[in-house]
């Protein structure tokens, strides 16, 4: 077959670049390009022009698609806030139920500065029910959420009529968050800067006083084995909270060492969260 001239190749380049050329001329174009730098330059320019034309013609629709996605994302954010508002109402109902059951002393009064919702934590299984002293230590959970993270605040309030001491971060400190639903992701949390697991410290609680534990990124577990939880799909989720800490009504002495007080576990009612 006769080789192609530069003019003929130039004519065929757009179709060759777009993959529309017939097989025979394609082969001839390739043969020509192999030894003609000027046509290779022309080929590069043709490809660039085709890409520019594609972008020029499609950018408008792409922009519309992007703006739709952004609007959906904004709406999802608003829906999430609405869900949290729902959860807050749910929490209020739970608190009322506790009131009706005569457990009012377990419920902490709401505090304006607490994020979004409050749920009274109640004792769970029989073996986890705290003794009389620790029974006076209700706790509550607050959830707050920004676009990418879910935070939790735990309040431990001393409802007893005497001073209580908490060994926060000490041996036995553990926070369990049971998040269940259609898509739960748990990734190891490398940070140790989550207050419940930060360096061991003693918390002295006067009667009626509260201690707040902010827990960012739904980090749970115990020191050295922390995980961060998040949801990955829309749907119905439940979140259970269980917090264990050593509690005593006498200040620690040197001989207490690692075994100050007794481990008490507080279990919260399940929160139901509808993720849109």
């Amino acid at each position: 077959m006769r080789p192609l001239s530069c003019e003929e190749v130039d004519e065929l380049l757009p179709w060759y670049a777009a993959g529309e050329g017939e097989p025979d001329p394609r082969e001839l174009v390739e043969q020509h390009l192999a030894h003609c730098p000027r046509c290779r330059q022309g080929y590069a320019e043709t490809e660039r022009l085709a890409a520019l034309l594609d972008w020029h013609h499609r950018a408008g629709e792409g922009l519309q698609r992007l703006q739709e996605r952004l609007r959906e994302e904004s709406q999802r954010g608003a829906a999430r806030r609405a869900v949290l508002s729902f959860v807050r109402r749910l929490a209020a109902v739970a608190a009322l139920l506790l009131l009706a059951l005569g457990l009012t002393r377990w419920v902490s009064p709401p505090r304006d500065e607490l994020p979004i919702i409050t749920v009274a934590l109640a004792a769970g299984e029989e073996e986890a029910v705290p003794g009389p002293r620790a029974k006076a230590l209700p706790a509550r959970v607050g959830l707050s959420e920004t676009a990418q993270r879910v935070d939790l605040t735990l309040e431990v309030k001393n409802r007893a009529e005497r001073i209580l001491y908490l060994d926060v971060g000490g041996e036995g400190t553990e926070l369990r968050l049971d998040l269940s639903g259609p898509g739960v992701r748990a990734v190891p949390a490398t940070t140790q800067s989550v207050p419940p697991f930060l360096s061991r410290h003693l918390v002295r609680l006067a009667p009626g006083e509260s201690y707040f534990l902010p827990i960012p990124y739904l980090v749970e577990g115990k020191r050295g084995r922390l995980r961060s939880l998040s949801w990955t799909k829309p749907g119905r989720y439940t979140l259970g909270v269980r917090y264990s800490v050593r509690v005593s009504d006498t200040p620690p002495s040197a001989r207490d060492g690692q075994h100050f007080g007794r481990i008490r576990t507080f279990v919260g009612p399940l929160l139901t969260i509808q993720v849109p």
């Binding site: 660039r48 085709a50 013609h57 499609r58 922009l63 992007l66 952004l70 920004t146």
Partner: protein, 193 residues
């Protein structure tokens, strides 16, 4: 003028941070084509460019909604685009296709980024000017080809003309546009040297 744009951007950024979604929409209208043009320089595929541009803006939007307000929005935005592009290139292992050494892809200077983006903007401007000079019918054929993704044969069937005529009209348009772009670039180089 540039300072005014930057100020207007900063205002839109602050409004986005405060939760005003409409403000970010205005930023997308202002920069979507330009960011795509910048990406196109390295990846000459409009479908990939669209994906990367969308990811870029979504990432920027999420960061702003988390309260992160950059000092220079445009440089920051191109930085995100560049980062996304680098990830895509590494994933596809097409570094040789772009002819760019890996270190250039990995660590762009802000000034270089903005300069490249501006060059692409100028190039797109020239293309638009060239298109405006073409006959209406040819522009329609180009739209069928490049917006709808039709082949010459499909276009011929749609407009009821022989395939040869369609190819000939499009070839003429491509040549005119190519010449216009390379002429402008030669003039630019002449001024620069």
């Amino acid at each position: 003028m540039q300072a005014q744009t930057r100020e207007a951007d900063a205002d839109l950024v602050q409004r986005t941070v405060r939760g005003d979604g409409r403000a970010f929409e205005l930023l997308t209208t202002r920069y979507y084509r330009a960011v795509g043009g910048y990406l196109l320089r390295r990846v000459q595929r409009a479908d990939v460019v669209e994906d990367l541009a969308q990811e870029t803006f979504l990432e920027a939007f999420r960061a702003l909604r988390q309260g992160r307000a950059p000092e220079n929005f445009v440089a920051w935005l191109y930085g995100i685009a560049h980062h996304r592009l680098g990830k895509w290139l590494r994933r596809r292992q097409v570094l040789s296709f772009t002819g760019m050494p890996p270190e250039e892809i990995a660590a762009p200077a802000e000034a270089v980024l903005l300069e490249e983006a501006e060059e692409q903007q100028i190039l797109l401007g020239r293309l638009e000017a060239g298109l405006a000079e073409l006959p209406e019918e040819t522009r329609r054929l180009l739209a069928l080809k490049h917006r709808e993704g039709r082949t010459c044969e499909q276009i011929a069937n749609e407009v009821g003309r022989p395939v040869g005529t369609i190819k000939s009209l499009l070839s003429r348009a491509y040549r005119a546009l190519r010449e216009r772009l390379s002429r402008a670039e030669s003039a630019e180089k002449g001024r620069g040297s």
